[in-house]
C-alpha cells in the first residue's frame, strides 16, 4: 500500500541530477523482484488489479500462465500481456464432454492459433505446455515439435484427443532436451497395426534428458526392445507410466534400469507370453520392489490395468512410503487389499474401485490416517448394478480419515445420516462429490430426499470449494447450498430440484461461484435470469436437458455482451423449435468464435 502512495507522489517531488535510474524504474524493478515471489494465481490476479504499474510489473513477471478456457483469450493477447511465460496451461472442452454430452467436433480447431503462436515464438521463454481437454492434431504436434524454442522441456496432454502415434513421434524426434512427456487419459486416434509409429524409438540416440514419461492410455503395443533401450539411456528418469501391454516380466526389466523411480505406472501387472516373462515368479517381483532402495524412494503407484491378483502383495514392501496409490483399473476385492493396506500409513491419495466393498474401505479407514484424497469408482457404472459400497463405507472413512480433503464416492444408495456424519468428522473437506448412481434415489433408510445430508456438508465444511450432488433433492437442498455455500466455486447438479427456485438459490446465494454444471433439472428461464448479476464473475455455465427457451438465452446474450452464449444441439432430429438442448456460456475477451460447427448456434 505504501508503494502505491509513493508511486502516485513520486515524479514531481524528486528532481535529482544523479545518473541513477529514474525513480519509476527503480520502483518497477523493486516491484518485479517482490512479485516474483508471488506464486498463487489468485494472488497474482489480485496484484495486477492494484494499479497500472503493478499490472505492468505483474505481467512482466508472470511465469505461469493459465488460460482456463481456451476460447476466452487469444494467443496474441496472452503473448502481449505475458511475454515471459515459462509454463502455459490451456483448458478446452467443458467437463461434461467427458460423459458424451457434447457432440464431437465442438471446437476442433481451437488449438490451431495457439500452435501457430508457439511456432512463431510468441512466447520465447516457453518451457512447458499443459493441455487439458483440447483437440490437438498430429499436424499441431509436428508444428510444435519443429518450432518450439530450445528451452522447451515439458509437454503434458491430459484428456486430449485428435492425435496419434505420429504426433508423438514428431515430439520425440524433434524436441531435444525434452524432460517430460506425459500423455494421460487421452483418446488417441485409432490406427491400423502397421500404421502405428514407433515413437519410442524416435527419441534421438545417446542419453536423453527424460525425467518423466507416461503413456498409460496409449492403446497400441509399444515395441518392448525400443522401450527398454530408451529407459536404459535415460538416467534421470524417475517417473515412468507404461501402458497395459507391458507385462510384469517386462516391467521388472524396466525397473532394473530405473533405480531412482519415484512414480511408477505398472502397466498390466500380469505375466505375459514373452521372453521376459519366462519363469517369472513372485519372488522376482518382490525383489524388483525391494531393490535399489525403492521402499524409501517410491511414492506413487498406478496402472494395474489387468491385475494378476497373486502378485499384488509384492507392493507391501513399498507401502509404508507410498503417498499415492491408484488401483482404479484393478477390481481388487477386500481379501486382496488387506495384505498391504495395513502398511500404507503414509497414503494421502487413494483411488479404488468399489470392488473393495465396505470392508475394504473400513480397512482403509483404520490404517490410512493421513488420507486426504479418496476416489471410489464403480466397477459397473450402471444404475441398477450390484451394490458394493454403501453408507457403511462412507461412514467408516469419515471416522478414520479425519483429515480428508477431497472425496469422490460412487454408490447405488446412500443415507442422510452418513453424509451428515462425514460433514461433522471431516471439517477439512474442500471437495465433496457424491454420486448416487440411481437417479432421484432418496435416503434408502428414511425414504426422505438427500437434502439434509448435502445441507450439512455445506453448513459444516466451511472450506468447501467443489460440490457434486446426486440423489433425490428438493429445492430445500439448494436453499441450503445458497445459504451456506459461500466458498463454493464449482457446483455440479444432475437430476435434482423441483423448480426455478433451486437455481435462484444457487445463483443468488453462492457469491464465489465460478463454474456451474447442470444437467436434466426442471430449471427454466426465470431461474437462469436470476443470475444475471453474477455471470460475469463466472468462468462458465452449462445447462443441458433443462427447460430453457430461446427467448431466455437471447435475453442473457443481450444483457451480457461479453458472454459468449452457445446453444448446442446434440439431437438435431428431436429438437423442439423453441427449446434449448444445451446452453454453454462463458465470458470471453475475443467475442464469438468463428469456427462454429453446424450444431452450435452462438447468440
Amino acid at each position: 500500500m505504501s508503494e502505491e502512495d509513493e508511486d502516485q507522489a513520486a515524479p514531481p517531488k524528486r528532481p535529482r541530477a544523479s545518473p541513477s535510474p529514474p525513480p519509476d524504474q527503480v520502483l518497477d524493478n523493486v516491484l518485479e523482484t517482490v512479485l516474483q515471489f508471488l506464486a498463487a494465481p489468485r494472488d497474482r490476479g489480485a496484484a495486477s488489479l492494484v494499479c497500472r504499474s503493478w499490472h505492468r510489473a505483474e505481467s512482466a513477471t508472470r511465469v505461469t500462465v493459465a488460460v482456463r478456457n481456451i476460447l476466452a483469450a487469444s494467443p496474441a493477447r496472452a503473448a502481449r500481456r505475458f511475454p515471459n511465460a515459462h509454463h502455459i496451461l490451456l483448458k478446452g472442452r467443458p467437463r461434461f464432454a467427458d460423459f458424451n454430452l457434447l457432440p464431437p467436433g465442438w471446437a476442433g480447431s481451437a488449438f490451431r492459433p495457439w500452435a501457430a503462436a508457439f511456432a512463431s515464438a510468441a512466447f520465447p521463454a516457453l518451457r512447458s505446455l499443459s493441455l487439458k481437454r483440447i483437440t490437438v492434431t498430429d499436424a499441431d504436434l509436428d508444428l510444435l515439435a519443429r518450432s518450439l524454442p530450445a528451452s522447451f522441456r515439458e509437454l503434458s496432454l491430459l484428456l486430449c484427443d485428435g492425435f496419434s502415434s505420429r504426433g508423438l513421434a514428431s515430439i520425440a524426434s524433434h524436441c531435444r532436451g525434452l524432460r517430460v512427456l506425459d500423455v494421460v487419459d487421452c483418446e488417441m486416434n485409432e490406427e491400423e497395426d502397421d500404421e502405428v509409429s514407433d515413437w519410442v524409438a524416435a527419441f534421438p540416440g545417446g542419453h536423453t534428458h527424460l525425467e518423466s514419461l507416461s503413456f498409460e492410455c496409449f492403446t497400441p503395443q509399444v515395441p518392448f526392445a525400443a522401450l527398454e533401450a530408451l529407459v536404459a539411456r535415460s538416467p534421470r528418469l524417475h517417473r515412468l507410466g507404461v501402458n497395459q501391454h507391458v507385462s510384469l516380466g517386462q516391467l521388472r526389466r524396466l525397473m532394473a534400469l530405473t533405480p531412482r523411480l519415484t512414480h511408477l505406472g505398472t502397466g498390466s501387472f500380469r505375466p505375459g507370453d514373452g521372453v521376459e516373462d519366462q519363469g517369472l515368479d513372485f519372488g522376482q517381483i518382490l525383489t524388483a520392489f525391494t531393490s535399489a532402495g525403492r521402499p524409501n524412494t517410491l511414492v506413487s503407484l498406478s496402472g494395474f490395468r489387468d491385475l494378476a491378483p497373486e502378485y499384488l502383495p509384492a507392493i507391501a514392501v513399498v507401502s509404508a512410503n507410498l503417498t499415492s496409490l491408484d488401483l482404479s483399473y484393478a477390481p481388487v476385492t477386500p481379501d486382496q487389499i488387506l495384505p498391504f493396506i495395513g502398511q500404507c500409513c503414509s497414503l494421502e491419495t487413494l483411488w479404488v474401485l468399489d470392488s473393495v466393498r465396505d470392508e475394504g474401505l473400513e480397512a482403509v479407514a483404520m490404517y490410512c490416517k493421513k488420507l486426504q484424497v479418496l476416489r471410489v469408482l464403480p466397477l459397473d457404472a450402471l444404475e441398477d448394478a450390484e451394490e458394493l459400497v454403501s453408507e457403511v463405507g462412507l461412514t467408516a472413512i469419515s471416522e478414520g480419515c479425519r483429515g480428508l480433503r477431497s472425496i469422490l464416492y460412487f454408490c447405488q444408495r446412500m443415507t442422510n445420516a452418513a453424509v451428515i456424519t462425514m460433514s461433522q468428522n471431516c471439517p477439512e473437506l474442500k471437495v465433496f462429490r457424491l454420486c448416487i448412481m440411481g437417479r432421484h434415489q432418496p435416503d434408502h433408510v428414511t425414504g426422505e430426499p438427500m437434502d439434509e445430508g448435502f445441507g450439512a456438508i455445506v453448513r459444516n465444511c466451511s472450506k468447501l470449494t467443489r460440490l457434486s450432488t446426486s440423489g433425490r433433492l428438493t429445492d430445500r437442498a439448494f436453499e441450503y447450498i445458497g445459504k451456506y455455500g459461500k466458498s463454493l466455486r464449482t457446483l455440479s447438479v444432475a437430476f435434482a430440484g423441483d423448480s426455478d427456485l433451486a437455481l435462484q438459490h444457487i445463483l443468488q446465494g453462492c457469491s464465489k461461484l465460478e463454474k456451474l454444471e447442470i444437467r436434466d433439472c426442471p430449471f427454466g428461464d426465470a431461474g437462469l435470469l436470476s443470475g444475471m448479476h453474477h455471470f460475469y464473475h463466472m468462468r462458465f455455465v452449462w445447462m443441458s436437458g433443462c427447460n430453457l427457451t430461446l427467448q431466455g438465452c437471447k435475453e442473457v446474450a443481450r444483457q451480457l455482451p461479453r458472454m459468449v452464449v452457445e446453444l448446442i444441439n446434440s439431437q438435431p432430429e428431436n429438437q423442439r423449435p423453441d427449446g434449448v438442448d444445451i446452453l454453454y456460456m462463458y465470458r470471453s475477451l475475443e467475442g464469438p468464435r468463428e469456427d462454429v460447427p453446424p450444431f452450435v448456434k452462438i447468440l
Binding site: 458424451n100 482404479s328 477390481p331 474401485l353 466397477l379 457404472a381 450402471l382 444404475e383 437430476f495
Partner: protein, 223 residues
C-alpha cells in the same frame, strides 16, 4: 454354406421389419462392414455412445421377442468417462467368470471344468488340428496360438506370407456354432464364443463375403 437352402419366406427372423433385401444375401440379417479381428467387447448394459437418450424400453417394443429391457439408462450417467467404462466392462466380465468358476469348483485350474477341444481347419492345409479353447482367455491368445500352429503350412507355396496371413487381412477366422451356422470370430464376448464354438475354420477373405452376420443379437434373444 448353411442357410443357402432355407426358404426365405419361412425363415424366423428377429430383426427390424423391412429388411427384405438383406435376406437375399443368404444371411439372416444384414451385417456390418467391419470384418475386423480387432476385438472390442460390447459395453455393459444398453449404454450407447451416440448421444441419444433413447430409452431401452423403445428398443424392446420394436422387438417383442426380446426379454423385458433393463431400466432405461441416460446418456452420460453415471458420470464415468467412456474409456474407463469400457476398460471396466472387460474387467467385470472377467470377474464374473472367475467367480463362477470358483463357485463350481474351488480347486479348478484356470481353465475351468473340462476342456473344449475343437477342430481347426485351414484352407489349403493338408491336415486339421485341434485346440482346447479353455486354454485361452481372450481372442488375442487364441489367434496367437493359431498363428503358431499353422505357421508351418503354406497354401500358396509362399511360407512367409502365410505366417502373417493368419493374423492379417488375407484370411478370416470363422467358427461353426451350435446351430451349424458359420460365424465370424470376434463378435461375441469370449465366454459366449467358447460355449458355442464347435469347430474353427481359417478361410481366405475372398470367400468370406456373405458370411452370417453379427451373433450378438441372436445370443441376446436366447438368454
Amino acid at each position: 454354406m448353411a442357410g443357402a437352402d432355407v426358404d426365405v419366406g419361412t425363415e424366423l427372423r428377429l430383426g427390424l421389419p423391412g429388411g427384405g433385401a438383406e435376406a437375399a444375401k443368404a444371411a439372416k440379417r444384414g451385417y456390418e462392414d467391419t470384418i475386423d479381428l480387432k476385438l472390442t467387447l460390447p459395453t455393459g448394459g444398453v449404454q450407447k455412445d451416440s448421444g441419444k437418450p433413447e430409452p431401452a424400453a423403445e428398443k424392446a417394443a420394436a422387438d417383442p421377442e426380446k426379454p423385458p429391457a433393463p431400466k432405461a439408462q441416460a446418456v452420460g450417467w453415471p458420470p464415468v468417462r467412456s474409456y474407463r467404462r469400457n476398460a471396466m466392462t472387460v474387467q467385470s466380465v472377467k470377474i464374473k467368470k472367475e467367480e463362477e468358476a470358483e463357485k463350481e469348483q474351488p480347486a479348478a485350474t484356470a481353465g475351468g471344468n473340462g476342456s473344449a477341444f475343437v477342430k481347426v481347419s485351414m484352407d489349403g492345409a493338408p491336415y486339421l488340428r485341434k485346440v482346447d479353447l479353455k486354454m485361452y482367455n481372450t481372442y488375442k491368445d487364441l489367434s496367437i496360438a493359431l498363428q503358431k500352429m499353422f505357421s508351418t503350412f503354406s497354401a500358396t507355396g509362399n511360407e512367409g506370407k502365410m505366417v502373417e496371413a493368419v493374423n492379417g487381412s488375407d484370411v478370416v477366422t470363422t467358427y461353426e456354432d451350435k446351430d451349424g451356422d458359420w460365424m465370424l470370430v470376434g463378435d461375441v464376448p469370449w465366454e459366449m464364443f467358447v460355449a458355442s464354438c464347435k469347430r474353427l475354420r481359417i478361410m481366405k477373405s475372398s470367400e468370406a463375403i456373405g458370411l452370417a452376420p453379427r451373433a450378438k443379437d441372436k445370443y441376446k434373444n436366447k438368454s
